[in-house]
């Protein structure tokens, strides 16, 4: 696949011309800022009160240890990520299995099903804000008609979380479906035919043939969704703003408020670094255990 330099004449020059712009760009606008965040995390820098960042070593990290608000946010984010991912895996898998049965108009249907995932996330938040709203929302209206309890969906802690979870499932189950559908399509049909001839039931077909072959992709989808749901911001911003109180203040919201409401840039940077480290550790554990699960699942 590779071409020799000699064939291209003046090869080295062309190489640099081709890759340098992209590399420079990425380094300037993605990598360098990330390193700057690391540096900022070791400073005290309140943009209102401090003229310049003041080096304070690990004081920010010490403060993080005692920050109950951060602990609460971390817990909420994990809780949200776990429940959302579980729901999306179930719903996404069900939809993927359905699409795998090749219904008529499948491509168009799949395109429609993917709409929530491609929509602007703040619009998804808007959609569900309207659905749950006291004055224009059909959901409270339905409760009203059925003489159910009057719930302030987005103003009560428990129901606010529930509303966010539903919105997230609606938005992202299609991604799981997309991934699992791709995995399902690769399974050779003969395996099902042969097993059916041997008298296998639908459930057995699923458990013995389908499941092992999509297990890898299930893990990939779960990993993707867990990380993205953990860092969820757009919908929360629009639907609850972190409230009521701090009951839906996920990690990203916490960081946003630290940096842009309290103007504590140094502290916010430290929080970001800590969150990144936690994510990296979690990702490492995920890679290790999915590798192990793989070896166990293979016959």
């Amino acid at each position: 696949m590779g071409m020799r330099w000699a064939m291209l004449g003046r090869g080295r020059l062309y190489f640099w011309l081709l890759t340098l712009p992209a590399v420079l760009y990425v380094v300037t606008w993605r990598l360098a800022p990330a390193l700057y965040t690391v540096w900022l995390s070791l400073t005290q820098y309140n943009i209102v009160y401090d003229n310049l960042p003041r080096w304070n070593q690990f004081a920010n990290f010490g403060r993080i240890m005692h920050d109950r608000g951060l602990g609460g946010s971390l817990f909420l984010s994990v809780e949200f990520a776990l429940i959302a991912t579980a729901a999306e895996l179930v719903i996404g898998l069900a939809a993927a299995l359905f699409f795998d049965t090749d219904p008529p108009g499948r491509n168009l249907l799949l395109g429609i099903f993917l709409l929530p995932m491609i929509m602007v996330p703040v619009v998804v938040g808007t959609v569900w804000s309207t659905l749950f709203d006291r004055t224009v929302g059909p959901i409270p209206y339905a409760f009203q008609l059925l003489h159910g309890p009057t719930i302030q969906w987005l103003a009560t802690p428990a129901t606010a979380m529930f509303a966010l979870l539903i919105a997230d499932a609606w938005e992202w189950a299609p991604l799981v479906t997309l991934l699992l559908f791709a995995a399902l399509q690769v399974i050779p049909r003969e395996q099902f035919e042969a097993a059916r001839v041997d008298g296998a039931s639908g459930w057995q077909l699923f458990r013995r043939i389908t499941l092992p072959q999509i297990a890898g992709m299930v893990l990939v989808a779960a990993g993707l969704r867990m990380m993205d749901a953990f860092l969820e911001l757009d919908k929360v911003f629009v639907m609850t703003g972190g409230g009521p109180g701090t009951s839906t203040q996920f990690v990203s919201m916490f960081v946003y408020k630290q940096a842009f409401q309290f103007y504590e840039l140094g502290y916010a940077s430290a929080v970001i670094i800590v969150v990144l480290i936690l994510l990296a550790v979690a990702y490492g554990i995920y890679l290790r255990s999915s590798g192990r699960a793989f070896r166990l699942a293979s016959p």
């Binding site: 190489f15 590399v23 760009y25 359905f98 049965t101 996330p121 619009v123 842009f260």
Partner: protein, 273 residues
Amino acid sequence: MKGARGRRWRHLVGIALVLAWTLPPFLYLVMLSIKPERILIDRSQVFFWPTFERYRDLIGSGLGLPIWNSLVTSTLGSVGTLVLAGLAALTFSFLEFKWKTLLFLVILLPRMFPPVTTLIPIQLMLKTMGLIDTRLALIILFTGFQIPLAIWVLRTFLDDIPRELTESAALDGASLPVIIAKVILPLSGAGLLAAFILSFIFNWNEFLFPLIVTSFNARTGSVAIMSFTAGYKKLQWGTLATLGVVMTIPVILFVLAFRATLVRGFTAGALKG
């Protein structure tokens, strides 16, 4: 129920479920946008003469600018991405060189840390450069954001170009720019399209960076939507719904027009992301 008729039934039920899950929430937003203001909160009124005045008013109102900003920054950002990523993807696909994997990792590394990581430094950088609240700043940022994804997608498509074509052109003495222009470019239409659409959609959906980096002049549609979540604007559901629908139109158009290309690009990008 087994057999063909049972399967037909199951298909119908499945189709109905999929549509019932996906469409109603969005359709409700559409309905709100064309419902006359007087009966907006009267949820029992499901049938009514639709009014399109909100759409007419949208352009003239202060909301026309954010939509325009979204359009301009998303498009130009994607173009920038295509140029930079396209050149780089050429090397990754066609050439063998010593530091290939390392370079690839350097490009992919930014995808591994979440956007919040660079938020604060970028705001400080832009402030120093005097680029706060400019469309140019957003275009610069958007170009950079999608480079890793675009390189990946473009490389996948470039890998499909038969090497005999490029090699025979090289053997005939063509220089690299000529090979690119005459052989590679004509054959990479699908890849460029997929990469453009994907990066456009991601740029269009951007919220956090435009929020932080712009205020009045350059704010995008997504930021404008957020302004409806507080104060008196919170009650303008009709206008908010209209804005939401308008922000969704490009996405719908792209998906309907380029389903197959998109699915291919998305799976490639999502799998490695």
